[in-house]
Symmetry: C2
Subunit: 707 residues, 2 copies
Amino acid sequence: MELSNILVPIGGIVALLFATFLFLNVKRQSPGNKKMQELSSGIREGAMAFLISEYKVLIVFVVVVAALLFIASYIPGSSMHWGLSLAFIAGAIFSAVSGNIGMRMATMANARTAEGTKKHLSKGLSIAFSSGAVMGMCVVGLGVLGIFSLFTLFHNYIDLGSIISTNILFGFGFGASSIALFARVGGGIYTKSADVGADLVGKVEAGIPEDDPRNPAVIADQVGDNVGDVAGMGADLFESYVDSIIATMALAAIIGTFFITTSSIDKNIIIPWLLESPTQSDILNYVMLPLIVAAMGILSAIIGTLVVIFGKGKNIYGALRNSLFIATILTAAFGGVATWYLIGRLEPFYAMLAGLIGGIIIGLSTEYFTSEKRKPAQGIAEASKTGPATVIIQGLQVGMISTIIPIIAVVAAMIFAFELSGFYGVALSAVGMLSILGVSLATDCYGPVADNAQGISEMAGMGREVRERTEQLDAVGNTTAAMGKGFAIGSAAITSLALIFTYMLTANILLENQGQPPLILELSDPYLVSGIFIGAMLPFVFAALTMGAVGKAAYAMVEEVRYQFKKFDLLKSDKNKPDYERCVKISTNRALKAMIIPSLMAVVSPIVVGIVLKPTGLGGLLIGSISTGFLLAIFLANSGGAWDNAKKYIESGNLGGKGSNAHKATIIGDTVGDPCKDTSGPSLNILIKLMSIVSLVFLPLIIALNI
Amino acid sequence: MELSNILVPIGGIVALLFATFLFLNVKRQSPGNKKMQELSSGIREGAMAFLISEYKVLIVFVVVVAALLFIASYIPGSSMHWGLSLAFIAGAIFSAVSGNIGMRMATMANARTAEGTKKHLSKGLSIAFSSGAVMGMCVVGLGVLGIFSLFTLFHNYIDLGSIISTNILFGFGFGASSIALFARVGGGIYTKSADVGADLVGKVEAGIPEDDPRNPAVIADQVGDNVGDVAGMGADLFESYVDSIIATMALAAIIGTFFITTSSIDKNIIIPWLLESPTQSDILNYVMLPLIVAAMGILSAIIGTLVVIFGKGKNIYGALRNSLFIATILTAAFGGVATWYLIGRLEPFYAMLAGLIGGIIIGLSTEYFTSEKRKPAQGIAEASKTGPATVIIQGLQVGMISTIIPIIAVVAAMIFAFELSGFYGVALSAVGMLSILGVSLATDCYGPVADNAQGISEMAGMGREVRERTEQLDAVGNTTAAMGKGFAIGSAAITSLALIFTYMLTANILLENQGQPPLILELSDPYLVSGIFIGAMLPFVFAALTMGAVGKAAYAMVEEVRYQFKKFDLLKSDKNKPDYERCVKISTNRALKAMIIPSLMAVVSPIVVGIVLKPTGLGGLLIGSISTGFLLAIFLANSGGAWDNAKKYIESGNLGGKGSNAHKATIIGDTVGDPCKDTSGPSLNILIKLMSIVSLVFLPLIIALNI
């Protein structure tokens, strides 16, 4: 116990120190010539402009929700604690800070990566990856420190019967969710509306190349990569990371509650092998285990990161894969030791391992179904012979079929973890899957940096050799980004499962405390079935709304670009410069406006269903939404990824190459896939986690209203 | 009781007599000139060729499954009755016979409709609708008679503890399912592969018009309409119809079991208001009620049908709507009286009404989201301004958003019915929804007949006036076909819900009989959750497989048409005639081969999951597959319908009309939508019902294996 209290904060602090070291190291690199610096700072300013606009809305949102949480804690019988409100604010701030730093870093690293690539490919890789690792380390460091501090502050978990401390931690998760909502959903709408808008007028109408500096939307497009893929991905995984840890801690704390209050709830379901009467320090060890595993993961991730940064090889994909591989093995080894030391048995470790392996399988499956080197994407490319319609049909098929392996992986990990360590094991498997986040997020965020570097080298005219090298970086980045998406979806699903099991037990404890019969979530209850049906429907509606939002925002961008082309005569003379800022502003405003309805839906529907269809219906809603949310997210992300790479496959000279009819057909596929893979698909992660955490936070209130 | 025993068979016989009357009446009409007769008999022969090939495979399938069922009834401890095997064969034969008659009629009516239209629009309508009504009446008549005979034969429902008679009836449903599988899935693959194959080479490559007799695939295309939309739709709804009746009877019989065996299972959940100890004749009344309602529905449907047949108005859509409207009101009135007479209270009647209204709401919602007169389809047409990609994205959105109303309608009907009459009420609401099937199926099947008539008038060169009239018939047929699809999906969902509630109770009775604890389908059981996840995945995989099958079969057709164009020099000289038969044969063989894997998946997965994840996991599988199956089916059907009508909207002169870029963009949308709305979407109905009925039939075996 003493050791945990030291190890965990040390882990968090080391992560932040390492992030600082990397940050300074990247900053030290040459930012290239003036043109490159100009472009880079244009992107940075645009990205910051988005963040600032986002913060303006966010502050209102956070303050209002925090106030509501505070007030709710004084509603008689609700048993919500005022600390929830504080934890909520902390979660929001911690997530926002890590996103902000990550984005600053990414937008600083793009020109430096391009410049570094001039010297050597591995130099460019090192810079791009370092910048991604800054985000990764901030996320895990701030996540661990945030949870640990709150837990220490409200450390009355054991004399309760009301599990205050974990309930308060849910507030932290809720805060993180709110940022993720804005960053992933808002960011997702932003990035695609800018991209589609820029392409429709630039590439299609005016016939100028992608990333042409005459296109007023070109900076907004580059900003979008950072907003969506860096800040959005970071906030999404920050949320998964802290949620998985919190759920595990909550389940352990519930065990503590059980043994003190002599509850009638079946204890085996939480941890089957638990001793008859664990001591307080036993329980505390169970509570601390996920944090320790996280701390171990941080150390492993640092080592994995160093492999890439100091590597000199030419095989970029190999370097990235090796770093993940090393981090995984180290985490497994450290995690095993820690578990044995803290708990005295290895079942929880195996559960964790199941999650770790499940995550890797999902990543590999995504890679298979989307890579241009594999059959599925090549099959889509083949279908282009008979035109765009068959490209679309084939892509839909690939996406739907690609759901099999991830579902089986999650189910197998869950069953395995449950058999070994009950619900506690399921939650731990989520922790395991996310434990190497420090390095896996670095791999994800490296992608958009490489993409930006490629864009800058193009716009700054850095010559063929540099362009070819940055293209190489970018191509690998596309693959890792696709894998990262699969991983993010899988981890969202298993984290949500852990949250829903926590929901059930928490509900029963709350009901028992109030002398009520426990919550029975029986499938023979039509209210539960109704909840499942409605829950299953919400991801479809959410995906449609986010897709629609992209369309509307893109349309505004199209109008603006056309207007500027005319007003400044950009295409024929180079006297005037385009007004990049206005385009950035349009994307920002439209994206933030367009996310209001889907966001409200995500926050409000669990509360409404909880009141109308009772906590039973809400349980159904959660499981229904997790299952279709998971499936739809994979379907949309993989269809989109496969369409994208089918196009790339043709562009690299197959089936007639660029400009052929086959190419045109795959461009249509790619355009359809864009909002699927970058907006609607990833947004679903947020939906399912947010609904679970909202349900947990408001559960006391819902129960109070239903009695 | 006495009265029921008379009324029910009378209802069934009257339906068959009425069908005979209509059949003879249509046959009496002039089949037109020689050219028309030739075309019509070509289509008929092609359709029959498909049926005969189908039967060859079917006979093997039915004999094997029947033998397995027979053997399974002798496995010690399985408590399956040998009568299941007999009922299975009966279900298969009854469904096949009604499909066969319906198809004969439809392929006989097409030329007659075209010829009738020459005289008067209402004459054509009358013939086309009459032919549809033949199918409708055969389905309801044979359905009711089949169930009634089996029930009378195995009439030992009350002295049991093993609910033999209803268990045997499930065999009838399983038989019907098998035919539906072949007709809907095989037929769906057939129809789209022929359609897509004919269009790709004819319209796109050779530039000849649709329905051009030089195209060798043109007859296969016409045959496809009958195979998919007449026989497929008929078998699909035959299955829903008998399943809903059987489920209701089973639930009533379970009540009987409860009161005799003093079971510990909560009786309120089945029929909350039931007297303390109902008499045998009370129970029998509950058992007979759905059959009586069905009989009343038959009489109402006949009256509704006559309204169209003897109508003289010009408003086709109005006439069809009125007939549905009249049938609905009459069914409601008769149903209310019958319920009051048999049961002595009206709650079951209200439950039935909830289903009836729910079905109508789903139909109207489908109409809204797919009609060319409404915003959604017009919005897709608007999106064509920015090319095919936006058409696709917009269509995906429309499909996803369109899930809201059907889900809410089904949930509301279920909750309402459950609150009033428990599970029995839920099953009755499915019966209510399907009670007007005699006339609603006529409305569905009228569509393909009108479509064929239109094709024949085109191919036989019957002149502009006739063509315009048949076009009018065809346009309305498209709308009613879309509504019919929505209705078929909704009824499949609620029928499956009734089946799954029956599954739960049956499992508990079987377990109790064997001294086992009851089945607990608690959401806190990871096996149940795993089942839900896997179940939710299966519709995605099934949809992908059926979509892929269309692609493969269409490709074979493309090759054949190209080959014939070359070999017979069809495009330049008219010396040779195309070999229509070979194309029909190719579609037939490919479709039947392509359906093997998806079909096996549907039959085998519940059994495998039941054994591996236990009956608990199987319960999850069913609810998971119903929820996503329902959602995906609506999504695919409505996206497809809306794309189709967006194209039609432009073809009728909007946004540039035929030949414009906008038109080309919507053609791509329509092609994508074709397998969605005519193959994958409707096939999902079969998947969810088949998996439910397979689970019910094999439940005794699964339980025996799990003990």
